[in-house]
């Protein structure tokens, strides 16, 4: 598996109190644990992103748990109301314990 790469789209600027749309996607095979290896007949071990969170200036904005039915390269879109400038921090947690993070700044006028 190639190293999962997160992508995030957050506006660079917003006005105070504006509701913005945030889009996120991470490259990940989301192996369900229910497929069999075609050659060996063995089950391929589950490996999925099981949790996603988004914080703004240290406060939780959005979080969710994912299950094996979620398809590869999970895409997440949600809204947030912004009242001050700051930093969004996005975190994805992998079954194997890896944590993938990325940050985006927004200026609120």
């Amino acid at each position: 598996m190639a190293t999962p790469k997160p992508r995030v789209k957050v506006p660079k600027k917003a006005s105070k109190g504006e509701v913005i749309t945030i889009k996120t996607l991470i490259s990940h095979p989301m192996e369900s644990g229910q497929r069999k290896d075609k050659k060996s007949g063995e089950l391929i071990p589950r490996q999925i992103i099981n949790k996603f969170t988004c914080e703004f200036n240290g406060q939780m904005v959005f979080s969710c748990d994912m299950d094996p039915a979620v398809s590869a390269n999970p895409y997440m879109e949600f809204n947030a109301k912004v009242t001050e400038s700051g930093t969004f921090k996005f975190t994805w947690v992998d079954d194997d314990g890896s944590v993938y993070e990325t940050e985006n700044k927004i200026a609120v006028e």
């Binding site: 190639a2 790469k5 992508r7 889009k23 996607l25």
Partner: protein, 285 residues
Amino acid sequence: MAKTYKSIALFSALLMGTGAALAGGPVDDKLVIDGEMEIQTRVAAPEGHPFDEIISGWHYRTEETRALEADSFQNPGMLYVERGEEIWNTVDGDAGKSCASCHEDAGEFLKGLGASYPKWNADAGKPFNIELQINQCREKNMQAKPYKFDAADQKALTTYIKHQSIGMPVEVDLTQGDMQAWWDKGKELYYTRTGQLNLACASCHEDYNGKYIRADHLSQGNVNGFPTYRLKQSEMVSLHNRFRGCIRDTRAEFPAAFSDDLMALEVYVTWRGSGLGVETPAVRQ
């Protein structure tokens, strides 16, 4: 026994045609990427073409699938474009070079290139697609190993290169070398029935296009979106992989990737999509 049963099921699905629940045909919609770039997905066919109008496979997909392609952020194929760009800039092979070492201004060099392939290669005496051209540069110019068919890096680099022509019209130059003879051969193959099901490309993509085969809505089988991101595989699918899959579905032996047969088909089928905008990476079911 099972085989016979399946083939009957396939045929009855084909012959069922457009029942009310399965009303088919291309949808009336426009492909505009990120609300900015409109892609030509329906164009008038040139003289001698079997159709009056050439229509991209995008019009035959569901609303959700079409929307995925229209948003470059959501389109998972864009991940492979990014990976392809990394490969372009990465040194590999004994000559210590990357693609970028020789083709410095990628933006300038690659713009429109992908829309003009397959292209006659005089040294090889046959048409080359992007995959073959990449392998030639790897071997000759980088002293690196050629990619094996459908290696992850081959698909990503091809996707990156083709994407640099997004929106530009597909145009094959049949006047170069023996391109016309390869076109003729490709056309012959397109109309030749193969396999236990005795179907030609034209049976599905010409005679039955707009109808359903099992759960699949048959398009004209155009190639302007390749490599395409297929939801079924959650992966990029190369053109020769798609060709081989279609031939396999007729229950026939299928030719090797990049064999003369598949290159001839690529020349001819690309011509059938002349004028469609490049969609790479298209999203398909």
